[in-house]
């Protein structure tokens, strides 16, 4: 493992830069010199949607709203959903996984069954069930997508915990009289956190994409725009024919972000030599 330290590479930092840029843009969107995402920039005598131009970099949608500005504002909701979902998944799944991997026995058996059931349940169907039957608030969607992450995160956490719990340093920690709590917090967590960090980047990408899937089924958040909703707006055959930019603008943003998340997560995984992550 010592030999593999080569640095994370240019691509990783490029990805991280993109994520930072898009996050900052999302956070500070209202204060950026963007077009008003709700404003209809109608040009007299011309019927929207307008194609990309120097005024509207990514063109406008059918309502003459600036696609670029809307995509940046869409990032706010999409990123919050992604982040919220994976945080939920990590906290719940991580706890479940670490505890079951460390204590084994009944804890493990029960947690494994819960995760197995979650895994067997087609994820998107679960999400539709919850959002259709409950509500489509931001928190509901984020938590719903988070639930989908519990099992994969939990399995990873359990697997890495098992790996590290077998290592002699844990035995050594026990030998010096560390309590279980201390072993989990001081010895295992720092090690398990790394693969989880890698996974959380991938997971965030998955959550963002899943939101898009929900949007296409018409079940994304009520309030606010998301990338999924923006893509859907231009995905009709006729709009694709006459104004592909309506979809392709947000698609490219979504794509770059997912790509960056995947790539960064993947590099992190390679860098820390995390094996056995299968989603």
């Amino acid at each position: 493992m010592t030999a593999a330290r080569r640095g994370l590479g240019f691509g990783f930092w490029l990805s991280i830069s993109w994520l930072i840029v898009i996050s900052l843009a999302a956070i500070f969107a209202p204060w950026l010199p963007l077009k008003d995402p709700g404003e209809n920039y109608i040009v007299a005598g011309a019927r929207p949607p307008y194609g990309p131009s120097s005024t509207h970099w990514l063109g406008t949608d059918q309502d003459a709203r600036d696609v670029f500005a809307r995509t940046i504002f869409g990032a706010r909701t999409s990123l919050v959903i992604g982040f919220g979902a994976i945080s939920f998944g990590i906290i719940l799944g991580g706890t479940l996984g670490v505890l079951s991997g460390y204590f084994r026995g009944w804890t493990d058996r029960i947690a494994s069954i819960v995760m197995l059931i979650l895994l067997s349940f087609p994820g998107l169907i679960l999400a539709i069930l919850i959002t259709a039957l409950l509500d489509r608030g931001l928190a509901t969607i984020a938590i719903t997508l988070g639930i989908l992450g519990v099992a994969p995160v939990g399995r990873l956490a359990r697997a890495s915990t098992l790996v590290f719990a077998e290592r002699d340093f844990v035995t050594a920690a026990r030998a010096i009289g560390s309590s279980n709590r201390r072993i989990i917090v001081r010895e295992l967590l720092p090690n398990v956190v790394i693969p989880m960090a890698a996974l959380s980047l991938l997971g965030m990408a998955i959550a963002i994409v899943a939101e898009g899937g929900l949007a296409f089924l018409g079940l994304s958040v009520d309030e606010g725009v998301t990338w999924g909703k923006l893509i859907l707006l231009g995905a009709g055959t006729r709009d694709l024919e006459r104004a592909p930019w309506i979809s392709f603008g947000p698609i490219s943003m979504l794509f770059l972000t997912v790509l960056a998340l995947n790539y960064a997560g993947d590099r992190l995984r390679d860098y820390f030599d995390v094996k056995d992550i299968t989603l």
């Binding site: 709700g38 209809n40 109608i42 019927r47 929207p48 059918q62 309502d63 003459a64 259709a132 489509r136 296409f216 089924l217 018409g218 079940l219 009520d222 309030e223 909703k229 859907l232 707006l233 995905a235 009709g236 055959t237 006729r238 709009d239 694709l240 024919e241």
Partner: protein, 599 residues
């Protein structure tokens, strides 16, 4: 399965049926917008509001052409010898729940199918006047409360049963017993007796029945052009009552017989060789729901289908550019924002007016309709004699709206809006809920647009996209502040009374805004009782003014329906009655296809 017992509360039950009709309308209605939403529910215009062409109605009367039916291309084809054979394929914008006119709620797409399988007792002629079709004659009594329908002799259903008075009664009974469609007709007939006898219909002789109305109507035949007038085989109706799945396998008298059906994908009909109306050229018709309008057009251009219908103005424009044979009807249902007058804040006229003034009608016309449809101030198109040129739909007046909001809040700002659960006003701004049906891309766009204007005028809007079923239920039981909606547009104006009369307000209202004005009812009923065109025009103009004053509907546009036919489709609009009258080509997007033959 369920029996609706007629009693004092029949109206409520009835209402729910209509509501469901709306559901169907909502599902089927719409334009074609390209959206990949799962549940069909598209539309720029919103909601449901079926084609009014359904039930209740009355009165003879021949005048009242409210029609602006434009043939864009092609004069009637003629002088060519029709050819037998071929399968006519039509792309519909949606599918329907079922094909039983007495049990299901029939949308535009549903009518396209039903018109081929069933024959209504009456049919609209070119001028929008209902004339006999399956019936040989339609005759009112003097006070216009009883209409005698004489059936044609020798007509049989597809299963061989004869069409006679008993069959007509069975159809009426089945409709009355339905949970859903009955809600829209019951307000106009006396209630079914405790013993099950129905005073609404009387058998005169083997081929004659008499419909007994609550109110005089000179235009009752218009009701018979829709579900009320469609005759299904009594044997089939009885069987379907036991096994509702038979609602998918209709047995009528029409030019085509049911062959097979796969819900949401294809319904196949074959020629009825013994149709009473004469020769039918086509071997078969196939109807396929293709919810995406652009896709439908692609199929049409690609020769995969022979015909389609749409309300998408840009598609219509595109088809014109392509030189496609289109039958365009500008008089379809009206799209509007609708306000619930029963609960605060919109139980107050000022709040309604403020909302009306704040509504961005121009934006709607420009963006949602792409300026391709006709903007409207009321229910009638401008060349309709009932159109009142003095009635102007207000909108796009933010300062005036702001003033009214301030006034309202100063006075009634502390009441509770049950929809938001909070006070009607906060900091001088009205709190309201806006509900629409989804999921739908256009619905979201409309919501964005309207809310932007209302927000500017001083409304705090809670967005409430509901799934279709839920949404319609909420509207039916008054669980909304403001919704976008689509209805009216019947060729015969009195058919739309069901949405306006006080008697349809209740726990479940078909009078969605839950607004009762006895005076207005009187005007509307008077208008259906008169056969004098001038008097009628004046009455309707008065009614239009009253509707406008109450500020319940913020009108946007008339729906523009196009029926498009590919090359090689002949006689698309050449249906005549046995008496030789030419019929109206299409009504709210659906027509009849028995005259068609393919090259």
């Amino acid at each position: 399965m369920m029996r609706s017992k007629v009693n004092n509360r029949w109206r409520r039950v009835a209402a729910s049926a209509a509501v469901l009709a709306l559901v169907a309308g909502a599902c089927g209605g719409g334009d074609d917008d390209a959206e990949p939403a799962p549940a069909p529910a598209e539309e720029p215009a919103e909601q449901p509001a079926e084609e009014p062409a359904e039930e209740p109605a009355e009165e003879p009367a021949e005048e009242a052409p409210e029609t602006t039916l434009v043939d864009v291309t092609l004069p009637p084809e003629e002088n060519v010898e029709p050819v037998f054979g071929g399968t006519f394929r039509m792309g519909l914008e949606a599918d329907v729940d079922g094909l039983n006119p007495t049990q299901n709620n029939i949308s535009a797409s549903g009518y396209a199918m039903l018109n081929a399988i069933f024959d209504p007792l009456a049919i609209y002629d070119e001028n929008g006047v209902a004339i006999p079709f399956l019936a040989e004659s339609l005759t009112p009594n003097d006070d216009l409360t009883q209409w005698t329908v004489k059936l044609r002799e020798g007509v049989t259903f597809h299963d061989g049963e004869p069409v006679n008075a008993e069959a007509a009664v069975a159809n009426f009974a089945s409709l009355r017993a339905s949970a859903l469609p009955s809600l829209a007709i019951n307000p106009f007939f006396p209630p079914v007796g405790a013993d099950g006898s129905d005073p609404g219909i009387t058998i005169i002789d083997d081929l004659t029945v008499q419909y007994n109305l609550l109110d005089p109507s000179a235009y009752f035949p218009a009701y018979l052009t829709g579900q009320l007038g469609m005759m299904g085989s009594p044997a089939w109706l009885a069987a379907a009552a036991e096994d509702p799945t038979l609602n998918q396998r209709p047995v009528g008298t029409g030019p085509f017989k049911f062959e097979s059906r796969s819900e949401d994908s294809i319904t196949t009909l074959v020629r009825n060789d013994s149709w009473w109306g004469g020769d039918v050229y086509l071997d078969a018709i196939e109807f396929s729901p293709v919810t995406d309008g652009a896709t439908r057009l692609d199929l049409l251009l690609g020769g995969e289908i022979n015909a389609m219908h749409t309300t998408d103005p840009t598609l219509i424009e595109e088809m014109s550019a392509e030189g496609i044979d289109q039958r365009i009807d500008e008089t379809g249902e009206e799209s509007f924002a609708m306000i619930n007058s029963e609960v605060p804040p919109f139980n107050d006229l000022r709040a309604r007016e403020a909302l009306t003034l704040a509504t961005d009608r121009e934006g709607y016309q420009l963006l949602i309709n792409e300026d391709l449809t006709t903007q409207t101030n009321g229910r009638f198109v401008s060349d309709n004699p009932y159109h009142n040129p003095n009635v102007v739909q207000r909108g796009n007046d933010i300062p005036a709206a702001q003033a009214l909001v301030a006034e309202y809040c100063a006075e009634s700002g502390t009441e509770t809006n049950p929809l938001t659960g909070g006070p009607t006003c906060t900091d001088g701004r009205i709190n309201m809920e806006f509900q629409w049906s989804g999921p739908s891309v256009v619905g979201d766009r409309i919501a964005d647009l309207l809310i932007a204007g209302w927000d500017e005028a001083g409304f705090n809007v809670t967005r409430d996209m509901l799934l279709q079923d839920d949404h319609i239920i909420q509207v039916a039981i008054g669980g909304y502040n403001v919704v976008t909606w689509r209805q009216f547009g019947a060729p015969e104006a009195s058919v739309d009374n069901v949405w306006l009369l006080c008697r349809t307000v209740g726990f479940i209202s078909l009078n969605w805004p839950r607004y009762c004005d006895e005076e207005r009812d009187a005007v509307l009923l008077a208008a259906q009782a008169t056969t004098d065109p001038a008097e009628r025009a004046e009455l309707y103009q008065t009614a239009e003014q009253m509707i406008n004053d109450a500020a319940l509907y913020v009108y946007f546009n008339h729906t523009r329906w196009s029926n498009a036919f590919a090359d090689g489709v002949n006689n698309a609009c050449a249906v005549t009655t046995p008496e030789g009258s030419t019929t109206r080509c299409t009504t709210n997007g659906s027509g009849r296809y028995e005259a068609i033959w393919l090259d």
